[in-house]
């Protein structure tokens, strides 16, 4: 008799053991996959495979398993869609995971982690940033946030949805929104003012 692992514990495992490698995974996928527009969908499919597999048997080395799954998925796709003829060895070479992608990532110090979070926060657009500050950093309720900012609650809720997406991109993808015109102007003014 096998016991199905409790879904909430796989969820926790997934967040702790798989998501931290997202940046490296994205670098790998982007390097190999011909169509950059499809890379996010690819990532999703890799995650699904990893999650469903882990629900049956927990992999011993999560990071290696993640990359192996990504590689296999791309091979399957490439074969099925006949984008690239797989018989050529040089094409298979491209799928090999480079040593610096698979080896344990340089551990970010806590200060760097915090800094990244701060940068991600500051990269949010104005309204979104205000909402996220009050809701997440100050811990204000949605109702009170709406009152403070003179917004409808529904609008606060939408901004939070946007904000948490941007946070995920920054925390896992390690990509903050590139500096906008406004930000660049602000930075120049701060420096000169």
């Amino acid at each position: 008799m096998t016991l199905a692992p409790d879904p909430s514990s796989i969820d926790q495992w997934f967040a702790a053991e798989i998501l931290p490698h997202e940046a490296a995974l994205m670098r790998y996928l982007t390097r190999v996959w011909p169509d950059h527009a499809e890379v996010k969908d690819l990532r999703q499919d890799v995650y699904v495979r990893v999650y469903e597999s882990a629900a049956r048997v927990r992999p011993a080395t999560p990071r290696a398993f993640l990359f192996a799954t990504a590689r296999n998925l791309m091979v399957d796709r490439l074969r099925r869609e006949r984008i690239v003829p797989i018989d050529f060895t040089e094409d298979l070479e491209a799928l090999n995971v480079y040593i610096d992608e698979i080896s344990p990532e340089r551990r970010l110090g806590a200060r760097e982690e915090l800094q990244r979070l701060v940068q991600a926060f500051d990269a949010l657009s104005d309204k979104c940033r205000e909402v996220m500050w009050l809701r997440r950093v100050e811990g204000l309720s949605q109702r009170d946030t709406a009152a403070r900012l003179g917004m409808h609650e529904g609008a606060v809720e939408s901004q939070l949805a946007r904000g948490v997406r941007a946070l995920a991109q920054a925390v896992f993808g390690r990509v903050a929104r590139p500096e906008s015109e406004d930000d660049a102007k602000q930075r120049r003014e701060a420096r000169n003012g």
Binding site: V48, L114, A161
Partner: protein, 343 residues
């Protein structure tokens, strides 16, 4: 469906859960969406994990006066670079050594860093926020808390939630609530019911209160069950998963069972009441908590009849049918009540 679309929907669900207006109908719909595809689940986990990790910002936010939203690049960066906050440097080096992935220890040490920063630049501590949540008779509601914990309120229940920098405190004023507590070693989760308190770190349990009668059911992890009337040196009772503690004014009785059996007492979360060899008076009292139309037992003779079975909380009729057909009981329907007597 493409990942962008799924992520957008996941974010909408997440924001709705944080809104403070989450109903059990929402929960049901959300559960359906989550179960519909692993891609949904994974997208949600990712957002949830990012949200949780942002709690570290609260440490840096402590350096900003309450009610002020700091300008970009005017917060955090200077605190992180500041040479005077030597204590913070020590703390964050300690965090680096501990490893970045363990957010539990990070928060614990970050909490120390808050104290250090507070000392050097005279900062205000977090303002504790108090929220009240209540359900009507027959109602049920799940409230997600800012720390990631969840409270599921049963029928006719009321709690007051106060999360502060040092403590997560819930006052159970009446009724019953089930607590799914997020781990946070720096802030114990305390449920206060009259003189009694249930203290947890990361676990699942329910507390029911009827004035001074308190019942605790633990379904995961471990809690400590303390009595404010006890002398300070007294060691609180420790309850593990499967334990059911019933406390009255002066005493506590603990029964230990398999978790599955303990969970039967919490079947109300799914809208069911489960009875096993339960006295009729007790079963009736349970039903009455969920329904405006009360059942009254008019004959002592039938009070001790033992019944078993699983009933939807609002389906009194099924319950009455069982009584009339399986036992020597007659049910007379009056305007606002149902009277049970011996047949």
């Amino acid at each position: 469906m493409d990942s962008e679309r799924i992520e957008a929907i996941a974010a909408d669900w997440f924001a709705k859960q944080q809104s403070g207006q989450w109903t059990s109908a929402d929960q049901a719909e959300f559960d359906l969406w989550l179960a519909a595809a692993t891609a949904h689940r994974v997208a949600f986990i990712r957002l949830d994990a990012a949200w949780r990790s942002a709690s570290r910002l609260q440490v840096l936010g402590a350096g900003v006066p309450e009610g002020v939203i700091p300008e970009r690049r005017s917060w955090g960066y200077s605190l992180l670079r500041r040479k005077q906050a030597a204590a913070a440097d020590v703390a964050s080096d300690a965090i680096s050594r501990a490893g970045w992935r363990s957010s539990k220890s990070l928060r614990a040490i970050a909490a120390c860093a808050v104290v250090a920063i507070g000392v050097t630049i005279g900062v205000q501590s977090w303002r504790p926020s108090a929220e009240e949540h209540q359900t009507a008779v027959g109602g049920m509601d799940t409230v997600p808390l800012a720390d990631g914990s969840r409270i599921t309120l049963s029928t006719d229940s009321r709690v007051r939630v106060m999360l502060s920098a040092n403590e997560r405190r819930i006052e159970l004023e009446k009724g019953e609530a089930f607590f799914d507590v997020a781990k946070d070693k720096s802030r114990p989760f305390v449920v206060v019911a009259g003189d009694r308190r249930v203290i947890a770190v990361g676990t699942q349990f329910s507390v029911r209160r009827n004035d001074e009668d308190v019942r605790v059911v633990v379904t995961e992890g471990r809690v400590r069950f303390a009595n404010d009337q006890d002398p300070p040196a007294a060691v609180p009772l420790q309850l593990d998963a499967g334990a059911i503690a019933r406390a009255t004014a002066g005493s506590v009785m603990v029964r230990e069972q398999a978790v599955k059996e303990a969970e039967q007492l919490l079947s109300w979360r799914n809208g069911f009441l489960m009875f096993r060899d339960t006295a009729l008076t007790e079963a009736v009292a349970e039903f009455n908590r969920y329904n405006q139309r009360k059942i009254v037992i008019a004959d002592d003779a039938i009070a001790d009849i033992r019944i078993g079975g699983s009933f939807r909380v609002d389906n009194i009729d099924a319950f009455l049918w069982l009584l009339e057909n399986g036992f020597p009981v007659r049910a007379r329907h009056q305007q606002d009540a149902v009277v049970l007597s011996a047949r």
